[in-house]
């Protein structure tokens, strides 16, 4: 087996929910030893979050170890149960952090301070440490203690205002979207940059990822339009200022799809040539020469009619057939896929083997997101199932922190390792 590229790197993952643990998950996929520090005294809500694995009789499995939501973001980590509300727990945390290259948390500044895990404190324990903090608004500033999580971050960062149809209120995008790629991905990028810096200088450093700044940074041109042009743009549904048609069009029901009355194909025509190809592929070549739709300007001017027309064409088609036909003609198109499509029906996803299946001792066989960056020589992988709560407490205390059995017994008796 090839050595994975981050082998030898040790990460103290003091995070919870989505944005923090996913950063640790990526590092684990590429070979880092990631120690997830958690406690029943402040349990990660995802351990109690749906969807849960199921028993053969159709009932949900129970307990802290069977949430697919949690398990997907913690593959191959070690779990150390440690109560950071007590002083002895904080001492053990320091002894662990001494042995780590990277520290990671997304707890609020208030909790970080209460647990004595500020960068000032940790860098005294381990000057080579790269310590990453990913609070909602920042570790400092007038809003640093504002409450929030993904559901609130989405409106505050402008994603809600800028997404969806203009005749609807800005109710958001259906998920805690920034938690899954944008924030953890930025965090890991910064960590890797800091690792390179440390290799060259020997110096650790503090990384702060205010989630507000991280997300607004990816908000297209919305804020620059305000800053540079003084305008205040808003949402425009699925339309684009540089492509028409550009949207999702309803297709025929598909009895094999669970939720079969919700099949759609997206189509994006960025040039007149793509539009002409699309009309031909869908069997309506005459529409390309209709003056209402012949040019980009005409299609934008008649976009309601354009969309209604295409909707008529696709209504009788199977979504996969519409997408494939358009793609054969070189037109960007694709099925609005659901999870069944992603896991079981999309031949391309299957061929690339993105999803990895692992056997979890309690949840059973479960799917994991694989690494989305496929490295040809030192690939990542899903290194194993996610840990049971506290599964590696003894191992981490003994092997990594260097405690002896008497010390561990005392900590257990004192309620520190809970």
């Amino acid at each position: 087996m090839t050595k994975r590229p981050l082998e030898g790197l040790r990460v103290g993952d003091f995070s919870w929910f989505g944005a923090g643990p996913i950063a640790g998950n990526t590092l684990a996929q590429f070979g880092a030893e990631v120690i997830r520090v958690e406690s029943e005294a402040k349990l990660d809500g995802l351990r109690r979050g749906h969807p849960f694995a199921m028993n053969p009789d159709g009932t949900f499995k129970e307990g802290y170890n069977v949430s697919g939501y949690f398990n997907n973001y913690n593959c191959g980590k070690l779990s150390l149960q440690l109560n950071l509300n007590v002083e002895k727990g904080q001492e053990i945390a320091y002894r662990l952090i001494e042995k780590c290259d990277i520290f990671l948390t997304n707890f609020t500044p208030r909790v970080v301070e209460k647990w004595n895990l500020t960068y000032k404190q940790l860098s005294r324990v381990n000057p080579r440490l790269i310590a990453a903090y990913a609070p909602m608004q920042g570790m400092e500033g007038p809003h640093r203690d504002f409450l929030g999580f993904g559901a609130v971050l989405t409106p505050v960062t402008g994603l809600s205002e800028m997404s969806g149809f203009p005749n609807r209120p800005p109710f958001g995008i259906g998920t805690n979207y920034p938690d899954y790629v944008v924030n953890p991905g930025h965090t890991v990028t910064a960590m890797l940059a800091a690792l390179r810096y440390r290799k060259r200088t020997g110096k650790g450093q503090c990384i702060e990822l205010p989630q507000l700044e991280s997300v607004v940074n990816t908000l297209g041109t919305a804020v620059p339009e305000r800053l540079v042009n003084g305008t205040n743009p808003t949402r425009n549904g699925n339309r684009s200022i540089s492509a028409a048609p550009h949207g999702a069009f309803r297709c025929a029901d598909d009895p094999e799809s669970v939720g079969s009355n919700d099949r759609w194909v997206v189509i994006a025509c960025r040039t007149d040539a793509e539009w002409q190809a699309a009309t031909k592929a869908l069997g309506h070549a005459d529409a390309a020469s209709d003056p209402k739709f012949a040019t980009f300007a005409a299609r934008k001017a008649n976009e309601d009619d354009l969309e209604a027309l295409i909707g008529n064409w696709t209504a009788g088609l199977k979504a996969e057939d519409a997408a494939a036909t358009l793609q054969t003609a070189g037109v960007p198109a694709g099925v609005v896929q659901n999870a069944q499509d992603m896991l079981d029906r999309d031949p391309h996803m299957k061929a690339r083997g993105y999803y990895r299946y692992v056997n979890h001792p309690e949840a059973g066989r479960e799917a994991h997101d694989g690494p989305a960056a496929v490295l040809s020589e030192t690939p990542g992988d899903v290194p194993g199932p996610s840990p049971l709560l506290g599964e590696h407490t003894m191992d981490v205390c003994e092997r990594i922190i260097g405690l002896n059995m008497d010390e561990i017994a005392d900590l257990l008796a004192d309620g520190v390792l809970v």
Binding site: P155, P224, V266
Partner: protein, 410 residues
């Protein structure tokens, strides 16, 4: 003088919409990122919105600016043999090549992974495309909305009655680029240690798919497809202290009934201070408000007759709370509500973000010279703050601005 994290790293990119943000992240961290552009510029240079008064100018595209800060620009026509040779020489001077062309496009021009790797084994070569380098759809045409659709995230956004919603801001491109940045950096660290380069293959479809949240596991475990639930969410009922509400000048999102922070009675206290509580201090409203949180809702679901009684009173409570928020600006509601530890978010418009108290107080916005004007412009800062080797955002290059300087130094 602070050393930059990626000082000494040269990146040559052949990117347009999908991979440009990857190059930006590396450039802002201090890499020397050289963007090779076709004459006239690519799709992004020619897409709006543009700086007012500069419509159609390739140096004035804000779409280009946001994904191309801190880079250099070299114009080369890779359809031309002599330019192609220069492009190859330039690529071989790099530690990392980033590209987002159709599969096989650069290889057909002598600039593919195999060709460059053969001449420079330590090279990291990152391809960021819609569907990746392998598989039956590898050659499919791609645009951001196609990535969002095929990754499974679009089906989760919007009302069931509407088409699924795209998320604003080219998020499939962004997701692909962010994964590409991580993969490129891991490969770079490996190459710097061992001399071994490699190919990094990123599919936008896969990169975006982790954002399906729990939909993937719902199918895996339960064989259920999670569907979009629109404005009301999973419980199709308007609940006091939850949801998107109108303010005087916009909207706020309330999530007061979530476990964090103060509960609904603290909102009524605030309303009372301003004389707007109406009859919410009277029963049955007072009693319902005192009990209203997630635990209470769970209980109600097991007690249909009690639930029926309570549900009948909710519209009135919602109306009174609605009138209160309509009397405030979104910013007042957000900042004052949060100071009272009520979970309220402003639905920020671009103008709100430009004036956001936190962003302004932390000096997040930076200033750089306007590539097409005389006075400097403000611009979003980097996504992270590194204490020793900070990321910095410098102005995007004008088309071909560095052609002569870069090529003469080869």
């Amino acid at each position: 003088m602070v050393e930059r994290a990626l000082e000494g790293v040269r990146v040559v990119e052949f990117t347009d919409e999908t991979g440009a943000y990857c190059g930006k992240l590396l450039a802002d961290l201090g890499a020397d990122v050289i963007k090779v552009e076709p004459p006239g510029g690519g799709r992004q240079r020619n897409a709006g919105p543009f700086v007012t008064g500069h419509d159609g100018e390739p140096n004035a595209s804000l779409a280009f600016w946001v994904h191309n800060t801190s880079k250099k620009s070299v114009v080369l026509d890779i359809e031309d043999a002599s330019d192609r040779a220069k492009a190859k020489q330039l690529a071989l001077s790099a530690d990392i090549v980033i590209e987002d062309n159709p599969v096989g496009f650069l290889a057909a021009r002598g600039l593919g992974y195999a060709q460059l790797h053969a001449e420079k084994p330590s090279l990291v070569y990152t391809s960021v495309t819609g569907f990746g380098q392998t598989g039956p759809h590898a050659n499919w045409a791609y645009s951001d909305i196609v990535g969002q659709a095929t990754s499974g995230i679009m089906t989760l956004a919007g009302e069931m009655a509407d088409p699924p919603n795209m998320i604003y801001g080219h998020q499939a491109d962004i997701s692909a680029s962010i994964h590409a940045a991580q993969g490129s950096m891991i490969a770079l660290l490996h190459a710097e240690e061992t001399g071994q380069g490699q190919q990094v293959d990123v599919s936008a479809q896969e990169a975006c798919s982790m954002s399906q949240e729990t939909a993937m596991q719902s199918w895996d475990f339960q064989k259920k497809n999670r569907v979009r639930t629109g404005e009301l969410g999973a419980i199709p009922l308007r609940l006091p202290g939850a949801g998107t509400l109108k303010a005087k000048d916009g909207y706020v999102l309330l999530f007061i009934i979530a476990p964090a922070g103060e509960d609904l009675p603290a909102l009524v206290d605030w309303m009372r201070e301003e004389g707007m509580q109406e009859d919410l201090d009277e029963d049955p409203y007072r009693e319902i408000i005192a009990a209203m949180n997630m635990g209470f809702l769970t209980q109600l679901m097991g007690d249909p007759s009690r639930a029926a009684q309570i549900i009948g009173h909710l519209p009135h409570i919602n109306d009174v709370i609605g009138r209160f928020f309509e009397s405030k600006t979104a910013k007042e509601a957000y900042e004052e509500g949060q100071h009272r530890r009520l979970l309220i978010g402003i639905v920020s418009k671009p103008a709100d973000l430009a004036e956001n108290t936190q962003l302004r107080s932390r000096n997040w916005y930076i200033t750089f010279p306007n590539p097409v004007g005389d006075s400097p412009v403000e611009f979003p800062g980097p996504p992270y703050r590194l204490s020793e080797s900070p990321a910095t955002v410098q102005r995007p290059p004008r088309l071909g601005e560095h052609t002569a300087a870069v090529l003469s130094a080869l």
